[in-house]
């Protein structure tokens, strides 16, 4: 099922079957884990749905917001939200939003990503219980 999207005078065809299934699966995994699905939804829309990045950047945020809002209310309803912990995390997240752009100018994004690759791989191996990981 194709959906026509009009964006700033241009028309794009979006395969909504892929969008729906992909979005659904990413949302299940991300809400199970308790993280935003941004880094997965953007490649889903750009690489798999073949949409240009300028269409995706704002729209993916809107799509993720649906997931975050729904999952957050479900977690709250299930009694799994520790309000003081949430407040601390929110203070951290909002403050980071102000600090990051200032630091970003001084850092090479490629190097940040390289560090992140190492960090994520290390954490992943530790979570998977791979032996000999300190």
């Amino acid at each position: 099922m194709k959906m026509t999207i009009e964006f700033w005078g241009e028309k794009f065809e979006a395969n909504m079957v892929i969008g729906a299934i992909g979005g659904f699966l990413i949302a299940v995994a991300s809400s199970l884990g308790g993280f935003g699905g941004g880094p997965f939804v953007v490649p889903l829309m750009t690489v798999i749905m073949r949409l240009p990045i300028y269409v995706v950047i704002g729209s993916s945020l809107l799509a993720i917001f649906f997931n975050t809002l729904m999952a957050s209310s479900r977690y709250y309803f299930f009694g799994q939200t520790d309000v003081p912990l949430f407040i601390i995390m929110a203070i951290g997240a909002v403050t980071a939003g102000f600090i990051s752009p200032r630091i970003a100018k001084r850092l090479s994004p490629i190097w940040v990503k390289r560090v992140a690759v190492v960090g994520c791989t290390y954490l992943a191996l530790k979570l998977l219980g791979v032996p000999f990981i300190p």
């Binding site: 959906m3 977690y75 912990l85 203070i91």
Partner: protein
Amino acid sequence: MMYWQRLKSNFLLCFLFLVFFFFSTPCFSQEKQAEPQAQAAEPLKVEVKLDKDKHKGGDAIQITGKVPPGMKVNFIEIASTEAKVQVGRLDRKDFKFYLSTEIPAFYTIIINEDYMAKIDKNGTIEEKPVKEIYAKYKANKKWKIGEFLKESNADIAFITPPKMISEIKVWKSSIVRSIVGSRGEPQPSLTDKKEVKKEAARLLQARMRSLSNLFVLGKITTNEDGTFTATFKLPENAPKGTFSVVAVVDKDVKSEPAKFTCEVSFPKFYFPVAGTSVNLFGPLILALAICTFGVLMGAGGGFILNPLLILIYHMPHQVVAGSVMPSVLFSQGAGIYNYSKIGFISWKLGIGVGIFMALGGFIGPLLNQFVTLDEYKFVFGIVLLILAALMFWQTTPGYIEKSKKEKAILEEFKRRAAAAKAQKEQKS
């Protein structure tokens, strides 16, 4: 004459017998009454005392007391009676989901390291050092608390949780029901003390996770006069509120609970849903640092923050996910507002995919309750590996070249959007 003499002596004998009987009966009865009195005077009483009424996380608590001579304290149960948390567990055998909101946030049983556990094997009692049993269960990742309690005899010290828990809710779950986001078909709650005891132990295992968190092999020294001493180190992250301490000799001989209060003062803070006390600045600095790095790498903070909160602070994965997830709502909301101001959102695409993401977000938190910590770690580990691969791809020369072009287009579109917005405002 002979006859009279015989009669006289017989009569005397009878009289003497009657006199003896008359005086002796109260003596017998006194003895009979004295027996229970002797028992009541020296009942099998266990006393337990604590060095202080108030403690802090990290304190070493001195537990002393007295048991009847010849007896030994084999177990000491320590439970938080005021701080209670919610714990859920999906039984994989019959797909029943059990949930209680009255589980002690902290629970442990100290087992005397020299204790010889008695195992009933078809009527014959065998003795086995509890150390051996403990080592066997510690090595087994899939240990079952019910089996350990029975084999180590620690079930006789499992006293407080069944008293604290009034009911355990039960749902009969199925895959179809999970897909529609339901816990399952509600079943009658467990209220029978025996059933509550069994399930409470399993829920406590889900809460405290490892054998060494729930059971500690320790030195409980009982002297010849019946006095005993033991030391217990209260963990740093112990919850605040009242705790109870019960010393147990055997099934019938145990103390009344002694109470102490765990105080939590600034900068330490008690997180009531997570059920742990943590220095407030720890998670705050962690959140700040990780979220800053997360925004820089373009992935948000949750990916790294959640596993770290679990690995460093040992918070339950259900609470970590439930508390971190809503914290990004503000930044997402602000982002959407900013992009919508310059008309940089395709509402059709965002809402189209968003509806299905909302469906996924309806099911995910339910699955989060159903999975164990190990399964959660596994899913998270795989997700992080995929993320690492994605980011690695983003550092390859081909991608960098492509992204430079895309960035230029993006900037151009942003400029156009901002200009159009300004024009509109001028016209109006």
